[in-house]
């Protein structure tokens, strides 16, 4: 009883932690990132920020489902805090940028926002020099994201999942909103003889930060889980899509307005994970393999 009384306060603390995480991962960076991006046109900027679409997109579609056991009827309510992290590969630290027209060589490799120092190209005939967009400024091997989520059910073997975080506009930072909505439906209820629980899911999420950057993600897949006492082993396959839209007006008055949509690299993922489930408490962790390797872990309350 004491535990239940304390739960709302605990959840508030956890939600606050998530909000801080959002501000840290995107808010701080975006303010300066926006000014940097505004120096360039869409052709120049796409490669520099493409890894953000890949990594953020993979994060958005992670950590939703870690249990395929859904009773046909009953009451289920749980609150979870999920941390996701996409691994930053070497291929996401550099990209190929076009040199100015006429330069030889015509392209050169330079840093993305996840890379090191910007590189430059020197035209072999004139010795004119041209630099890449900017140094990288996100120095990490794992790009993180955190989100609180609520799962509620069960009706006809169906469970809903909701993610929602909103941070108000604060000095220097525009408002940010992440929301996601999904359904998970028990398949094993139709095939009782199957030795594991099987479920299918669909999930859509959207993240909007100010007026410049927005993300959306969709995941459709199936997962299976098997409970062994308090331990749960789970895995799944999913098709997914994510995209990042960037809109701004370059500071160079001769450049046209930028409105580009970049698709995330991940279109398919295989998940394998392990959970510990006690009466009103659970923890879980999983690894996700696709074009982007991603890990997620979380803690849940309720059941």
């Amino acid at each position: 009883m004491e535990t239940l009384r304390r739960a709302p306060r605990l959840f508030s603390l956890l939600a606050a932690g998530c909000a801080v995480l959002f501000m840290a991962t995107t808010g701080y960076a975006q303010s300066d990132l926006q000014k940097t991006l505004q120096q360039f046109n869409s052709t120049q900027v796409t490669g520099y920020i493409q890894p953000l679409a890949d990594l953020f997109g993979a994060n958005m579609n992670a950590g939703m489902f870690h249990d395929a056991e859904i009773p046909r009827t009953g009451f289920h309510l749980s609150f979870e805090i999920v941390g996701m992290g996409s691994t930053v590969g070497d291929n996401q630290k550099n990209y190929t940028l076009n040199a100015p027209a006429g330069f030889n060589p015509a392209t050169f490799s330079t840093a993305t926002m996840f890379g090191g120092k910007r590189d430059s190209v020197v035209d072999t005939k004139t010795n004119l020099k041209y630099f890449g967009i900017a140094d990288g400024f996100v120095n990490t091997s794992i790009f993180p994201l955190g989100a609180p989520q609520l799962t509620i059910g069960d009706i006809y073997g169906t469970r809903a999942i909701i993610r929602l975080v909103a941070t108000p506009s604060m000095k220097g930072f525009p408002s940010a909103t992440l929301w996601g909505l999904g359904l998970q439906h028990s398949i094993s209820q139709y095939i009782p003889a199957v030795p594991v629980d099987i479920a299918a899911h669909v999930f859509y999420s959207q993240f909007r930060f100010g007026d410049v950057v927005s993300f959306s993600g969709t995941s459709i897949g199936a997962e299976a889980s098997k409970s062994l006492s308090v331990l749960r082993v789970y895995g799944g396959l999913a098709w997914e899509k994510s995209s990042m839209e960037v809109k701004y007006t370059p500071t160079n008055a001769t450049a046209s307005a930028v409105d580009i949509t970049m698709n995330g690299a991940n279109n398919f993922r295989a998940t394998i994970g392990l959970g510990l489930h006690l009466l009103f408490f659970s923890i879980f962790a999983d690894a996700n393999f696709g074009s982007v390797t991603n890990f997620s872990a979380g803690i849940g309350f309720g059941g």
Binding site: K35, D135, F137
Partner: protein, 179 residues
């Protein structure tokens, strides 16, 4: 007790992961592609086979975000284009005046029609830059100065009508800076 401990661990660790990975932006070098610095000079009947003109003062500090501290700049191209009727063969000089000092930035020489398509310093043999003029330009950019560009030269055929023949110059500079 265990729940509180785990919750506090999550709150403590997740933000640290994020804060730790973002570099202080003041140490990040950013390339600032300035809008082309341009000059357009008309060629009219009254001036015969010579032409010349000077731009109004160009405030280079307005070409980039003032919140950046500039650490350098490079010239990465310049172009010359002719517009209008064929005026034979021509030559010209483009100068930059900064802090009261005028320096030749580059010269060009060739058939008028050859310049109907913009000729680029990178690919054309019809344009020759002057290193000291380029230095004056770079210093003016990094010093956020006001400059004027002068364009003057000769052609072998005088214009037959007014206000249809022009020489347009564009200068492309990339500055480097940090917040």
């Amino acid at each position: 007790m265990n729940r509180k401990f785990i919750a506090l661990m999550i709150i403590a660790v997740l933000p640290l992961m994020a804060f730790d990975c973002i570099t202080d932006f003041s140490s990040v070098n950013v390339s600032l592609n300035l809008a082309p610095i341009t000059a357009t000079v008309p060629l009219n009947q009254s001036s015969g086979t010579t032409y010349g003109g000077v731009t109004p003062p160009i405030d280079l500090s307005t070409f980039f975000d003032q919140s950046y501290t500039l650490t350098g700049a490079t010239l990465y191209d310049l172009t010359v284009q002719t517009k209008g009727e064929d005026l034979g063969t021509g030559s010209g000089t483009v100068t930059i005046t900064a802090n009261g000092t005028t320096t030749t930035l580059f010269t060009y020489n060739g058939a008028w029609t050859a310049f109907n398509t913009p000729q680029s310093l990178i690919t054309s043999s019809l344009i020759t830059r002057n290193p000291s003029g380029v230095n004056a330009l770079i210093n003016a950019v990094t010093g956020r100065q006001k400059v004027t560009l002068g364009v003057s030269g000769t052609i072998t055929k005088a214009p037959s009508v007014n206000n249809t023949d022009f020489i347009a110059v564009s200068i492309y500079v990339q500055a480097s800076g940090h917040k």
